[in-house]
Amino acid sequence: LEVALLFDEGDFEGTGVDLPEPAGTASRLGDLAADEAPTLPGLAEPEAMRHYVRLSQKNYAIDMGIFPLGSCTMKHNPRLNEKVARMPGFADIHPLQPQSTVQGALELIAQLAGWLKELTGMPAVAMSPKAGAHGELCGMMAIKAALIARGEAETRTRVLVPESAHGTNPATAVQCGFTVDKLPASTDGRVDIAAFREKLGDDVAGIMVTNPNTCGLFERDIREMADLVHEAGGYFYCDGANFNAIAGKVRPGDLGIDAMHINLHKTFSTPHGGGGPGSGPTVLSEALAPYAPLPFVVEEEGRFRLVEDASEAEDAFGRMTAFHGQMGMFVRALTYMLSHGGDGIARAAEDAVLNANYVLARLSAEMSPAFDGHCMHEALFSDAFLKGTGVGTIDFAKAMIDEGFHPMTMYFPLVVPGAMLIEPTESESKRSLDEFCDSLLALAKDAKSGEAEKFKSAPRLAPRRRLDETQAARRPVLRWQPEAAAAMAAE
């Protein structure tokens, strides 16, 4: 069923809410009141419901099947979390109401902070970052602030980032005024420690390393890296996007890192929601803790208090957002943690790693593992097995759609040609993984047996065939316009 744009189906004079008649009070807006209502359609409730229900049915979701996007960690989103987040005592409280009336909320933030510190082995955590990339920014800002405090901000400007890093890492470093120096990967998919050693110097502010990294591998030299960068006077930022592989199994704080963000929507199951909202609390070492941004919660004789004023935290590097962070996500994450407990969090990491290795082992029969040996939470393949078939990584991925699966992450990490990065997470049953593997093995055989056309023309069973992204970018149409305006704009 096709769904019209709401601007094409809705009544611009209509509304789907019933509001009382205004009393007719004289306006106190002077000449700043608009003469007319905004020109947007209002749908009656039955129409609106159908519009969005039908739209939703054009989406794939983790509740429908495996969503093996490597590095994106699509795990089950428990509905208990949704229920708890909607309790009025959490959902219906204002960020600036008197602190005496939100003691439970402050306690919750403190509790969640406690779990995060215990799981990471770090002494401090900044709770306000609104997403993973915002958490990265928080960590790098703390490093910048520490360098300013040391008087070395002008001289230490270089940040080392592996080639395999998420794009956010270099973007974040630049947004903090650093320059980025790329670290090459070794042939086993990890940071090349020799190259790393050579890159160190007086101008190095720090390193940004993802661990487990985006090849799905644990950086086995991580302690050495930490020692080296510390000796060189720099700091160690660890990208925590893949913390779900090791939560409960090893504490980053025991490995020498100085800062790491935690994606509550990855490791701790808060919903991705088609792109957000995320939440990226950032743990900090003793060295960086004083620079944590405002606000933060302190406990004083059983009462909880928000420190919002720079006069109480002189070293704080500032403020990252208007309020205190993604409370709605905190509630969900803590609910997840209490449900799993320390034992369950570790077990989830183990299952996630076992599931990934099972996929790696089974798919290796027809596909090309990028590296030898076991992986952590995600299995990385190159397109070597497609060589000469005329089928590209993207074609292979689109063919998966016709089999009823969401494709894996493609062409990332950049260090592997035609990369296919598969992360099943702990939420998949063996039965689900077997179906998935059977299907991919069959596809690989099809590709090798010359059925390229099937792949090139995929997807055929999705709500849309392949979409023309080039046209979208070359001539951007970013909004609906009335026909007249659209015609004019086209000229």
Binding site: L96, S339, R347
Partner: protein, 446 residues
């Protein structure tokens, strides 16, 4: 454990396929002394037990719906139709990822396109992105965008800008060596930053209604900014005001950022919220954040994709316009569903009701001895000067179960001139009894 589908037999069979005898062999790259730390954490628990603990925490908070409630300053208590929450909880929206595979994500992509259209229309701008974390981060990103557009490094903030928004700009812009000037906060609404604009100014950041509730005329400022080659960044923290006020776009703004929480989203103690970000068409390649665009598929059917990603970090890496790689997905969906129900007409009526309620509230408070209203023009929020410290008054009223507003001392902790100010917001949920309770409460504690 209820979230883990593998049973022991599965695990054993899988270990065999993988070729390990124990799962910890898969963690062999972890330094042995760091593996399996002893954690001081409780064991797993059932739903009933977890729900009870969370309920106990929730019960220690006073929900806005359970009190006469007048706090605003960037977050507002509104009624959200039940339909909105129902739709955002649908599995297909709730548990989807970023629409990287557009063929099976048209649901998300089409609503983003609709969202962008709604935001552009409300702000009076040509284009809008697919949302930002919240209003304050959108505001800081706007300052960074103005830098990219103008190549200048000086930001000028008006005195009516929410101090937390100003703080976020400071934190982001000063980190890269830019200058951020702030006009003094003027509670009476008379200050202007026109004199602070010069040829080095990348943008001026002006909020209206401002943090004290004053509705500001942006047109003259826009003209002045443009004379100097600077951009006007307009900031709106109460999205319902779009229903009744002249749009920032119509007043000459170059970038409009807003907090969208008021439409479709709960208070949530400050987050998650949804930042609205709109700009002129000519600047789109400098915009941060995701953009959804229209295109066609292989059969020629209309469809939607994420586009202009060459601005973004996953392609451009260190050359990206920002490091942002999410939008505020579900919150933007909530916004767009609520907005689709309201329509322009419904939003206007909602805005009128808000304004009328605030007028009634102001009238009731001005009758309380010692209370002075500072606003001439306001939308649904205004500032009063009290004869004593407003934070103490708020606390005293909180003990009576009334949330009277935001005291000046909360936002400007070190400014004695602000201490006696109380910023009061009223919306369509405010009843006459609420207003009476506030007025009588104030009489009692002043």
């Amino acid at each position: 454990m209820r979230y883990l589908p593998l049973n022991e037999a599965d695990r054993a069979a899988m270990r065999e396929v993988v070729g390990v005898s124990a799962v910890d062999e898969l963690f062999s790259d972890v330094p042995a002394d760091a593996l399996n730390p002893k954690l001081d954490l409780p064991p797993h628990q059932g739903e009933l037990s977890v729900e009870r603990q969370m309920r106990a925490l929730a019960s220690k908070n006073l929900a806005a719906g359970d009190a006469p409630f007048f706090a605003g300053c960037g977050a507002y208590k509104h009624h959200v139709p039940a339909t909105v929450d129902h739709i955002i909880q649908r599995s297909e929206f709730l548990t989807a990822y970023t629409p990287y595979q557009p063929e099976i994500a048209q649901g998300t992509l089409q609503y983003l396109f609709e969202f962008q259209t709604q935001v552009a229309t409300l702000t009076g701008m040509e284009v809008a992105n697919a949302s930002m974390y919240d209003g304050s981060t959108a505001c800081a990103e706007a300052a960074l965008m103005a830098r990219r557009v103008t190549g200048r490094k000086k930001v000028v903030c008006s005195g009516g800008l929410h101090p937390h928004y100003a703080a976020v700009i400071h934190t982001n812009s000063e980190l890269i060596g830019d200058t951020v000037l702030e006009a003094p906060s003027s509670a009476d609404g008379h200050g202007s930053i026109a004199d602070m604009i010069d040829d080095e100014t990348s943008c001026i950041v002006v909020q209206s209604p401002d943090v004290f509730g004053h509705v500001r005329d942006l047109s003259a400022l826009a003209e002045k900014a443009h004379e100097h080659g600077a951009l006007l960044v307009a900031v709106v923290t109460e999205a319902v005001s779009f229903g009744l006020l002249k749009s920032p776009g119509a007043q000459g703004a170059d970038i409009v950022v807003a907090e969208g929480q008021s439409i479709g989203n709960a208070l949530n103690f400050g987050g998650p919220y949804v930042g609205l970000f709109a700009a002129r068409q000519k600047h789109i390649r400098h915009m941060p954040g995701r953009l959804c665009g229209e295109t066609v598929d292989a059969d020629g059917q209309r469809g939607f994709v994420l586009t202009l990603s060459t601005r973004e970090q996953h392609i451009r890496r260190d050359k990206a316009t920002s490091n942002i790689c999410t939008n505020s997905g579900l919150c933007s969906l909530a916004f767009t569903v609520h907005m689709s129900l309201l329509g322009g007409q419904g939003l206007r009526r909602l805005a009128i009701l808000n304004h009328e309620t605030a007028c009634r509230t102001a009238d009731a408070l001005s009758a309380v001895p010692g209370v002075e209203i500072l606003n001439e023009r306001f939308f649904n929020e205004f500032t009063v000067r009290l004869p004593k410290d407003a934070a103490e008054v708020v606390e005293a009223l909180a003990e009576r179960g009334i949330v009277a507003g935001v005291p000046g001392g909360r936002l400007w902790p070190n400014d004695p001139e602000m201490a006696n100010l109380l910023i009061v917001a009223a919306t369509e949920v405010t009843t006459d009894e609420d207003v009476r309770a506030l007025a009588e409460g104030l009489k009692a504690v002043l």
